[in-house]
């Protein structure tokens, strides 16, 4: 069962990209509430009852007299345009999640970047012979950055750490591939 099938490719794509459903549900609920409000005003108007905020006819009048309230209008307009822009960007951007695809025997596997970072930090701390908490690793889409804080008085072999990290990354084929950078902090930490 090696190689990825169409089904697996589809699953992996969906697992590494946001579905945008939170934003879509949120916008849909806000719009639905606005609709419900407008319907309520219309029905109150039909029944001859007093409006909640303004009857539809009064809204029309207020809309016609818009330029009267400039300052507030600019703020509201800017706010709406900004929200609109956020939605458009969300609609067009890929929405990559902080995950990598790991090629394995069965094929369909996703790993959180956090997990990769944690494993790299562990390898680095073992090779550098420092405490686990003295290594900070971050993994982004294409890069892994490992920062090692040495114990004071015990120099860390940066080359050995780099080699260990590279070996780790070479042993697991992530996609997109990761390139590692190892930083040894100049200031050591006492007793770590």
């Amino acid at each position: 069962m090696t190689g990825t099938t169409a089904l697996q490719r589809r699953i992996l794509r969906r697992e590494t990209h946001s579905s945008r459903s939170a934003l879509a549900i949120g916008s849909a609920i806000v719009l639905a509430l606005l609709c419900a409000y407008a319907i309520t005003e219309f029905v109150l108007h039909f029944l001859g009852r007093p409006a909640l905020v303004a009857a539809p006819v009064d809204m029309l009048a207020a809309l016609a007299a818009l330029p009267g309230t400039t300052g507030l209008l600019v703020v509201i307009g800017a706010g709406l345009a900004l929200i609109g822009l956020v939605l458009v960007v969300a609609a067009l951007s890929p929405g990559r999640l902080a995950r990598h695809v790991l090629a394995t025997r069965r094929g369909a596997t996703v790993v959180d970047n956090e997990v990769i970072a944690s494993a790299l930090a562990r390898s680095a701390s073992r090779v550098a012979n420092v405490n686990r908490d003295s290594v900070r690793a971050t993994v982004s889409h294409r890069r892994a950055l490992v920062r090692v804080t040495p114990s004071t008085g015990r120099p860390v072999d940066a080359h050995a750490v780099s080699e260990a990290i590279d070996a780790d990354l070479a042993g697991a084929s992530y996609s997109p591939p990761l390139r590692a950078r190892v930083l040894i902090e100049r200031e050591g930490k006492v007793g770590a």
Binding site: V74, R106, E114
Partner: protein
């Protein structure tokens, strides 16, 4: 893994966003650009008047309600229903039955998703590398697909964790007697960070 229509989500966000941008830009223009403001003041009252007279000219039931407003309410109601349906349609696609097999003309064997859930979760619980695991099944393109999500402890190599899960999946397939496509998802998270690390080589 779920059957959320992602293209529809994006189209919806795009349309809503564009409408908001247009309304927002329009409001700013009316408020801050003198030329637009004067043009608006020239035209808007006339438009409002003609809408009012159109409403007055189209009474229904009695003389106070226009059928145009009734149509507006109907349109809003339709939009409301569509929006609610759109919101509720998200995230479906989980299935309770993993496998259905006709064993003869009259008989059918159904294997519940809980079988996979319990046996795989139990098997993974024996490994100290995992802080938690959860198994669910989805219906994708007419096939049942398992999703095995594991939370690994701090420092566990992803490849090692996945190999353990895949061995478990192989064993489950052997038990089931049929192939089962599966997605393995490895996560960290709070429980992983809070717990003690395990030594894994």
């Amino acid at each position: 893994m779920n059957s959320t229509n992602r293209a529809l989500n994006r189209i919806f966000l795009m349309l809503t966003g564009l409408v908001l941008v247009v309304i927002g830009a329009g409001l700013i223009a009316v408020a801050a650009v003198p030329a637009v403001a004067s043009a608006y003041t020239d035209v808007a009252p006339g438009v409002a008047d003609s809408i009012r007279s159109a409403l007055r000219a189209s009474p229904v039931f009695d003389l106070t309600v226009s059928w145009i407003s009734v149509a507006a309410v109907a349109a809003l109601l339709l939009l409301l229903v569509l929006l609610i349906a759109f919101a509720l349609r998200q995230g479906r696609g989980r299935t309770g039955s993993l496998l259905t097999e006709r064993t003869s003309d009259r008989d059918e064997t159904v294997i519940d998703t809980r079988v996979a859930e319990q046996s795989i979760e139990d098997a993974l619980a024996t490994h100290s590398e995992f802080a938690a695991s959860s198994v669910s099944a989805y219906r994708i393109a007419g096939r049942s697909v398992l999703k095995v999500s594991v939370t690994v402890r701090r420092g566990v190599a992803p490849g090692h964790a996945v190999a353990l899960v895949e061995d478990t999946l192989d064993a489950f397939e052997a038990l089931l007697g049929s192939e089962l496509p599966a997605l393995v998802s490895v996560a960290g998270g709070f429980r992983a960070r809070a717990g003690n690390g395990t030594i894994v080589n």
